[in-house]
Amino acid sequence: MRPRHRLDPYWMLAPTFGVLVLFFYYPLGRAFLHSLYEWDLLTPPRYVGLENYRVLFTSGALLAVFSTTLAVSVTAVLGSMALGLGLALAVNRPGAFAGFVRTSVFSAYVVSWVSVALLWLWMLDADAGVVSALLRAAGFGRARVLADPSTAPYALAFVIVWKIAGYSMVLFLAGLQSLPPSVLEAAALDGAGKLARFRHVVWPLLAPTTAFVGTTSLILTFQAFDVVRIMTQGGPVRSTTVFVYSIYEQMFMWLRVGRASAEVVVFFAVLLALTALQLWAYRRREAV
């Protein structure tokens, strides 16, 4: 369809563009500006150039936060994708029971992060939690998973998996249902078993879905905050201080507006790079 007037596309785009400018580009620009200052909100800001970035990169703080975020996110994304795909394969069939399971699994994704975090905080409580009781009964001793720096990040990742597996399942389900039946039938006629059909037909055809689920889940887990705030407050020993929580700490606990803004800018760059990587991988596959 051709526009009647050459300005038509622009005013149609204007509302979306306006919202983007107001709530995204402008705050991002301000964050970049603030990242060049030392400011505690109370005393006048002092221009420090790139000092905030230098401190972040040279103190090791950024690397520690990035490593923690990556460990939690990669574990959570791989776990939720594997579980989501497994569940999608299991419930990709007609029937009331499959529908019930689909709804049940997805319901966790609809529940707020705060509720989920509180629920798991109680379940993982070292003394009164049901999970701890089960681990004790199984002979693992007193499980203090949230108090141990070596297990706390993975306990958080586990909770994230529980929460977002339903999201992966629904997307994989959509991907499975959009596969051309003729290809699957042809493979079956050629004598391919269930495993071979999955490995050589279904899995390659699901690649775009997998890429999409992987990227969006990674971004989702990179943005995890509520679950950290409620369950661990970044501890013990900063073992669960992920990117967004670190920004919150800098900004609201320590009132370092400049350093928090520098982290926001770096965080934005990381997410942009991840999205670009996904698009590149997707287009490369399309080209092939």
Binding site: T43, A147, Q233
Partner: protein, 426 residues
């Protein structure tokens, strides 16, 4: 009716920024008032109930002034909101903050000097708890803070376990270790009850540093974090958690760890804890065993820091609101309120008249635990007046303490790093 202190109709950019946080003033629709005093407070649970009842009493008895008390989360959440509100020029007239940030807020020029308010002159504040005793050189500075909920660290003992074991409260670090070991119970090499529990928190570490003879900030202003005394303090915790396995390191940070310590004590999982005097009534009322309060032990000397919060007036608030807030504070320091606040919560009475009245009524004979909190004030030590100390505490020392106790790093290397970071803090 709209309060005189309600914001002007035109919303500024800063007001818009503050609005989602619920920071803009909402006029009370229920009764006409001449002056409204927004009060931001950070007490939860029982303390909140008591404060709200006292505020309610004030509002009932002062028809033209209404104090509007708004809960703002725990100390540190409240502080974060307060600072954002200050930046957004939407701060309340009255609030209360932890002592460590008073020098920082004073340096930022946001606190109202209190000597200009006639109703706040001549209050008979307990010296150790007022500005003069809380900070080194506090008496020489313009008064900007008045004590309200003040506390010290204190030991709580499970009376039943101590009596069964024939033990008394430890008075030295060596006795603390020995007592904790005696009370620790293991089954099949698993600890089922720890002898000692304490939040891994800066406040208790500062108490240990002082007991070991150290100072956080030397007289020349250099942040030494106690030097060798700081190392010995941290090593005590490390020894008790790693080698003796008689101290339970609680999970969580900030006040989660404190709550966990209380719960461990009440459930009998820990026989003796260090926490704030503020929890005295809560622990007494909720324990299924007799709770015995005891002063903290000493090493080369006995010493405890003071804690809790101080009332502050915010400079940017309208003058009428600040005057009304000062009137409210005078009401809170009247004997009846000062006594009620202390006896219903466990915080230390902050006026000498309140303590004297309680003595005369025989309160301390009936409640010997309350006497411990008063007697321990003899060894209360002042904080250095350092605007940087707040950041050093929150950003540097607190995370490193946790690392030293829960991780494997040596106390000396942890504190050397903390000192280097503190020096960089400038």
């Amino acid at each position: 009716m709209v309060s005189r202190f309600a914001p002007a109709p035109r919303l500024s950019r800063r007001a818009l920024l503050a609005a989602p946080l619920g920071l803009t003033a909402c006029p009370s629709p229920t009764r006409p008032v001449a002056d409204e005093v927004p009060l931001w407070f950070t007490y939860g649970g029982k303390n909140r109930e008591v404060l709200e009842s006292l505020v309610g009493r004030y509002n009932e008895s002062h028809g033209r002034v209404r104090v509007r008390a708004v809960f703002q989360g725990d100390y540190f959440e409240g502080l974060a909101k307060l600072r954002i509100a200050l930046a957004a020029r939407a701060a309340p007239a009255l609030s209360h903050v932890v002592g460590e940030v008073i020098p920082y807020l004073t340096e930022a020029g946001v606190l109202e000097p209190l000597d200009g308010y006639p109703s706040l002159r001549g209050l008979d504040i307990v010296p150790e708890l007022g500005q003069s005793g809380t900070w080194t050189g506090g008496a020489e500075r313009p008064p900007v803070a008045l004590p309200f909920n003040r506390s010290t660290p204190i030991a709580y003992l499970n009376g039943a376990l101590f009596s069964r074991a024939g033990l008394s409260a430890p008075t030295t670090w060596d006795e603390l270790r020995a007592t904790a070991q005696r009370l620790t119970e293991t089954k099949a090499s698993r600890v089922v009850r720890y002898g000692f529990g304490c939040p891994i928190d800066w406040w208790f570490w500062v108490a240990l540093v002082a007991q070991a003879g150290g100072e956080l900030v030397e007289s020349g202003g250099r942040v030494s974090l106690g030097g060798d005394a700081g190392v010995r303090a941290l090593e005590l915790w490390q020894t008790m958690t790693r080698r003796d396995r008689s101290m339970k390191p609680p999970p969580g940070r900030d006040y989660n760890a404190w709550e966990q310590t209380n719960q461990d004590f009440l459930a009998g999982r820990v026989a003796m804890i260090w926490t704030s005097t503020a929890f005295l009534k809560y622990l007494e009322e909720n324990a299924a065993f007799p709770v015995v309060a005891a002063p903290l032990p000493g090493q080369v000397r006995k010493a405890v820091p003071t804690g809790g919060t101080h009332w502050i007036l915010l400079k940017d608030a309208p003058a009428r609101a600040k005057r009304a807030a000062a009137e409210f504070l005078a009401f809170m320091y009247a004997e009846r309120q000062a006594i009620e606040w202390a006896t219903r919560t466990g915080y230390i009475p902050v006026t000498t008249s309140a303590i004297r009245a309680l003595e005369q009524r025989g309160h301390y004979d009936q409640h010997p635990n309350d006497r411990v909190t008063i007697d321990q004030l003899e060894v209360a030590m002042p904080w250095p007046w350092s605007p940087r100390l707040f950041r050093i505490q929150r950003e540097i020392v607190q995370p490193l303490l946790e690392r030293a106790v829960l991780g494997n790093e040596s106390a000396r290397s942890v504190l050397e790093r903390a000192r280097a970071l503190a020096a960089r803090e400038g």
